[in-house]
Symmetry: C2
Subunit: 296 residues, 2 copies
């Protein structure tokens, strides 16, 4: 199957699963669920769920085992965007071409929407993980890995470093420290989650962890490069990183230097996948896809 066809399949699976998770419920205020759905169904690329499903399939697992965690990762990613867009944070009013949640629903509801999405992520991971038939101890290993990657040692920690660095002189060490956490950690754990749900262990699991680490950073470098693109391409306001004096790869290395880093990381991704042989082909194609959208 081509990568495009696989991507379409994975996204259909994920969107159906997210739709099931975010149904109206008698106990949940309707406007809160509406805001959660508004945030989640806004044309995202579903990169984290795609990586989880692809990694699960690459190790010969059933993607049904990875699906609850794929949902959880997308809910966590979405909550982070909702909170990141808040006036007290990046103060963005546009995301994927639409008003951000706090513009559409008010700031208080946006705070709560993020909180509810983050909480729902762990509900889905725990409840759905059990229901998928995966062994409970493996479900718990995955929930723990996701929580570590999403928390103060991972994504939230990266956002705190990022805010702290804004407007200060940045060097490559700092930029990498921020991005490994802010984006890299969750993308990396998406790969690990899929591998664990698919039954991977030993050398295969290690190979996929290394792949996830390189891919997570590659994705962010590519994103930084694309930030210079006009709104019509990315659906968010262009040049926001520069406006906020964010620590980015293009800021410390220039755009060409950032492109070289992205290409190096793609090579690392491919090298990490060698132990998987042809089973790694879709992941290999994903790594190329991620990097080439910013370097082609």
């Amino acid at each position: 199957m081509t990568l495009d066809a696989s991507l379409a399949d994975w996204r259909t699976t994920i969107d159906a699963a997210l739709d099931a998770v975010l149904q109206p419920h008698d106990d949940a205020p309707a406007h809160l669920v509406e805001a959660m759905r508004y945030a989640v169904f806004s044309g995202g690329k579903r990169m984290r769920p795609v990586l989880a499903l692809a990694a699960c399939e690459a190790v010969g697992g059933s993607s049904a085992h990875a699906e609850p965690f794929a949902c959880a990762l997308e809910l966590i990613h979405t909550y982070s965007l909702v909170h990141d867009d808040l006036p007290a944070m990046d103060d963005d009013d546009l995301r994927r071409g639409r008003p951000t949640v706090h513009v559409a629903f008010g700031e208080a509801v946006a705070v709560l929407t993020g909180d509810a999405l983050l909480t729902a992520a762990f509900r889905v991971a725990a409840e759905g993980g059990v229901r998928s038939g995966l062994a409970p101890d493996r479900v718990l290993a995955i929930v723990t890995a996701i929580a570590v990657a999403a928390g103060e040692r991972g994504m939230v920690g990266g956002q705190a470093l990022d805010l702290d660095a804004a407007g200060k002189p940045a060097d490559l060490t700092l930029v990498e420290a921020i991005h490994r956490r802010k984006t890299g950690a969750l993308l990396g754990v998406a790969v690990e989650t899929g591998a664990l749900a698919g039954g991977a262990s030993g050398r295969t699991l290690e190979a996929l962890r290394a792949f996830g680490r390189a891919l997570g950073l590659a994705f962010q470098v590519a994103d930084d490069i694309l930030d210079a693109a006009p709104t019509a391409v990315t659906g968010k306001r262009a040049g926001r990183d520069a406006e906020h004096q964010k620590a980015t790869y293009p800021a410390v290395l220039g755009v060409d230097g950032a492109r070289r880093v992205a290409c190096d990381l793609k090579t690392q991704c491919h090298a990490a996948l060698e132990p998987l042989g042809p089973a790694g082909d879709q992941l290999r194609a994903l790594a190329s896809f991620v990097v080439e959208r910013a370097t082609a």
Copy 2:
């Protein structure tokens, strides 16, 4: 053992466990961990962890099995206070007699501190639950119950209803709908969590669930009554509910009416505990303690 002595013991246990969970870590930005600790170690009553440990002991379980979940519940409670105090929410500058997190660390760090505390709660529950030796399927049942109670069907949903109701005419149905979710859900699941960690099932588990539901509501009614008290007693600014035109029990029933509701709920708590016999004595005393601080 007297209730006072038990409370002191439980709080010492919880504070030590929280301290271990919130240690500096190479991967976590120091100022974020500092803000997390500032929020958590601010003289809270640890009511949710206390309920979890007390319920676990009441069913003959080892409190070591309930400890990770007790921590998780306190982290969730704390994050909800940090976010609730934000300018976009209740805009409180004082909590337990100290500047709130956004006053002390800035608004962006306060958003992230709440996010990190919520995420850490699920890390502790999953990782600590396994480490405690509790069966993995029981750990997952507890994690799921906590996520449901903390999310859009529970605590976060209650906060959304609460914000939505501010300034509008409130009736008893609405006030109860808000408080059952906003405070009741997490207090209720604290009792359930302790019971599950302690190995309860069948009639005992049902009895403790009923106790938790009644106690959760009783706690909030008492809190509403105490809101009229001066700052010196509660450590927060007095009369904030009325200032925000919040839907509260005293607002719809008057203070005397609210006191009668609190006393009725205490009776319900005690009735629910009957199947436990003398093993329920500490929980019985806890219910009296919660209600009597507002009605004595």
